[in-house]
Symmetry: C3
Subunit: 269 residues, 3 copies
């Protein structure tokens, strides 16, 4: 069932409110995560010292966590930041980057989920399957073992963890257990470069900073990012130029493109 | 009062001497900081281990510190590096990135200023106001609360701290308390991406490596960077391509462009 | 003596097998290292926590170490990862980035070489000279003091360390003591930006993941990277666009370009 998402309304709200989006993220794509938030019109801050993360989260409008280059100490800082964010009532997004690849990643993902309130849990199919308890082995950080029953699995996980679950892939799933969206936007080139997954989490974090319905916010964020990627792909000569054009295109995203290009399906419970 | 700055002379000197510019900087824009120094013709080195920073500073021609992603341990390494640089007599540039956002950032900025000799102190209006003791609350790392009396405040801070103070913004201020410059170059797009502030500090550090008059060096560096940004803006389709074109344009900056495009005012004491 | 290297065969094998290339690398060029592996069609993973590196190396097909922003703790994690890789029998590539600049870099390079099995040792002329025991002082991380007898020195080092030695420069040397190759590809622009040396190591690590003859693999990797750089230089307006175009060009590298453009000499023992 086709579903219209008013992503442009949220995009305008981001540009008006310029929410501060606090990140504790990986060292590989940290620039891209900051920059994608910035070109959306919001204000990124990357701060990971356990001595300041609680205070920084208090002035933020959302918190994005990404375990891509985790250490146990870094996860401790994430917990402090998340608890502070929980106290303030701002949404916490967790990208379980590489879950399934090592036991450290699994264990620390579960600790974060058990010890803090994660509002949006994001990963690719194999990462989310792992977090849901399904037996999948992730190879590194970018496999996307397709699971036939992924929508059901995501819904169950959302219900169990009382959060919104985002599963990225050729088609993305967003579900808060009550309602679900399937997003069919995006470009093949997104899978050919490093960073689109991480940036997607930051975009979701930015949209979640201005919209209380988190499944709606995540869907709006993802489709905006992926429409920008489609526009970028059209004017790229390859993955290098594609990467740069994403920033150009998301910066210039307008209501017409967002409304016309979006391919979202709503799924009843 | 219009003032001519012979930035091209310094740019030539950089290309001849290829000074080593040692950085302890943040993890977000570390590549851009290194690369902007490189395309200027100098030689960047990013080294932060407390076991080697003193030795690295001894072979460097300037030292750039940026607290954007600080931890207490990282600041300790900065102090060791700065003391080594002080001993050698090379200029130390401190970018108080995000000062005012958390008490850790304020406290560590003051420690660096109190325990080492900072030769050039750089920040945006709200960061510099904070360091000067004015009561301002920074929201994250990129607010630029304009202060009417910023020039006076910067001069007083320069006098008090016995250093050159650089305040970046739509118009930049450079002052060593005795003389002051206002730089009116730059592009709107500089404020739409992450990293231009950090790169500006690295450019200033590179110019300071070849010119003893640090206020002059900082002014020359800033105007060169901002003229390159103006050139880049003209050939960009948005913030993504703008970012890449900055490197192209600063690499090709010539005497004609620098002399013709610069908009600098000198202020008598 | 002109030598034909069937690099395209290896490139195809990379795209088919999608090997996981595990990195412990520096924070400056970490994105570029990951992305160059990705656009080659392989799967990069950057993981440095001592709690997970042994496990990650067990699912990888090669391991790339780069000491560019080393700390003693980081080197400990490298040793754990390298020992795990040694046990699995996958090739370990060490880029001795900045060796010679500080005693920490020298000491830690030697520790890695003495305590683990390094299969491919890579550096520029001054770094490799330093590791071979020659008295050279490196200025930062990008000097390339040319050594007349570099080929002899590289061969001796390869024999002594029982590894393949790669010396990058205007002409690159690859030798496993028994056979040697000189690669004359590349572009001047490679020396004008930060990151080409680090990316070269990652490319070598990716080719080494699919070819047991490591000198052959390193040569094939280097020439592919440098041919892509030559293609990128032709469509660039400067170092900023050049950087992005490298990714476009290596992504699209075909048999015709690789076979036609390669300039490799084989040296008998």
């Amino acid at each position: 069932m086709k579903k219209y998402i008013d992503a442009y309304r949220l995009l305008k709200k981001i540009k008006e409110k310029k929410p501060l989006v606090h990140h504790l993220t990986n060292w590989v794509t940290i620039y891209d995560c900051a920059n994608i938030v910035k070109v959306l019109g919001a204000s990124p801050v990357m701060a990971h010292s356990k001595e300041e993360v609680a205070e920084m989260a208090q002035i933020a409008s959302s918190l994005v966590l990404n375990i891509g280059t985790l250490t146990p100490e870094f996860i401790e800082a994430m917990k402090i930041a998340a608890k502070s964010a929980n106290k303030k009532g701002i949404p916490v997004i967790l990208d379980v980057c590489g879950a399934g690849a090592t036991s450290l990643r699994d264990r620390k993902s579960f600790e974060l989920l058990d010890e803090t309130r994660i509002d949006i849990l994001k990963g690719n199919a194999s990462e989310i399957a792992r977090i849901s308890g399904a037996r999948v082995k992730t190879k590194g950080v970018d496999t996307s073992a397709v699971n036939k029953n992924m929508l059901r699995l995501a819904r169950e996980l959302a219900a169990k963890r009382k959060c919104t679950v985002v599963v990225t892939g050729k088609e993305d799933i967003v579900t808060d257990a009550k309602k679900s969206y399937i997003i069919k936007n995006g470009s093949y080139l997104m899978t050919q470069i490093v960073g689109t997954g991480c940036m997607a989490a930051s975009v979701i974090g930015t949209f979640a900073a201005v919209e209380k319905d988190l499944a709606y916010a995540a869907t709006a964020g993802l489709l905006s990012f992926e429409i920008a990627a489609e526009c970028a792909a059209k004017v790229s000569q390859g993955p290098g130029t594609f990467k740069e054009k994403i920033f150009d295109c998301i910066f210039k995203l307008d209501k017409k493109a967002i409304d016309k290009m979006q391919k979202v399906e709503g799924k009843p419970e």
